[in-house]
């Protein structure tokens, strides 16, 4: 049984929104009592993924929710955009690969910082990335 609660959705279009996403995810991570290191990892991953929306997707949304399973809690964050999509996901998840001007650590780095990572993308339709971080 997985319980989902406190769902919150916000638009992501600008650099200010990226900062707001960090703050929202930080608040939730604190609320479920993730350790400071895990909070920092989740917020950093969220920052990378929110920036990807602004840089590549143009605009999108972030949904943040709290989930509970077997006495453990987690924060799940879902990053959706209706941008160009990713033609080769495996390549996009490779360290150092970048389609833009970044370091190519955004997707691959974010994946390393969370417990669960899921990516759903279709060329021409958009990309949805879901990350989960559990309490220990």
């Amino acid at each position: 049984m997985t319980g989902v609660e406190s769902v919150e959705t916000m638009p992501v279009r600008t650099g200010d929104d990226v900062v707001r996403v960090r703050q929202l995810v930080r608040t939730r991570a604190k609320a479920v009592r993730l350790s400071l290191v895990d909070q920092t990892k989740l917020v950093t991953a969220a920052s990378e993924l929110a920036r990807n929306i602004v840089t590549y997707g143009g605009a999108g949304t972030v949904r943040v929710e709290t989930i509970t399973k077997g006495g453990r809690h987690a924060v799940r964050a879902t990053f959706s955009d209706t941008g160009p999509g990713i033609p080769d996901v495996e390549l996009a998840l490779t360290d150092g690969w970048t389609s833009g001007t970044g370091l190519g650590l955004g997707l691959s780095g974010a994946r390393r910082l969370v417990d669960e990572f899921d990516i759903d993308t279709e060329v021409g339709k958009g990309t949805t990335v879901t990350v989960v971080k559990w309490t220990r």
Binding site: V19, V37, Q39, T40, V43, T44, S47, S108, L113
Partner: protein, 145 residues
């Protein structure tokens, strides 16, 4: 957009980041610092990040480019006060901050800059040529083995 203030502190420039960094704030800081280094002739830049709660790949890359930029403009950069959780996250993210000198706190950062300034004085006295390897400024004044 908020701008991060740059303070003159002896021979160095001091930057203390107290806000949640937006990407354009980071880019503006980089440009402001370059201008201030040239205008002031500062030999060092000390960046206090003890209040910074996250450093993602963009912000991390900014530290690396500020360090590289200052070096080209004949100034050394020290990033001081990184929180342990931030350091752990950076490493896992895959960012090693190559070429960025770090210090545990502002005092230690300032000590590093003073030491480098002293070496720089030596170097100027003996008119020794820099080693040419910008990635290892700590050994710049040492004889090439």
């Amino acid at each position: 957009m908020e701008r991060v203030p740059i303070l003159r502190f002896g021979d160095a420039l001091l930057v203390s980041i107290q806000i949640d960094l937006r990407d354009d704030t980071v880019l503006a800081l980089q440009e402001d610092l370059a201008e201030r280094i040239v205008a002031s002739g500062a030999s060092g830049v000390l960046i206090d990040i003890s209040a910074v709660e996250i450093v993602d790949s963009f912000i991390g890359r900014m530290f690396a480019s500020i360090a590289a930029l200052s070096r080209i403009l004949d100034a050394e950069t020290v990033v001081a006060g990184m929180r342990p959780a931030v350091a752990i996250t950076l490493v896992e993210l895959g960012l090693s901050l190559d070429g960025v000198r770090t210090a545990l706190d502002l005092d230690k950062g300032l000590a590093i800059l003073n030491r480098l300034a002293a070496r720089r004085g030596l170097r100027d006295d003996t008119d020794e040529l820099p080693g040419g390897d910008g990635e290892q400024p700590l050994t710049r004044a040492a004889p090439v083995s």
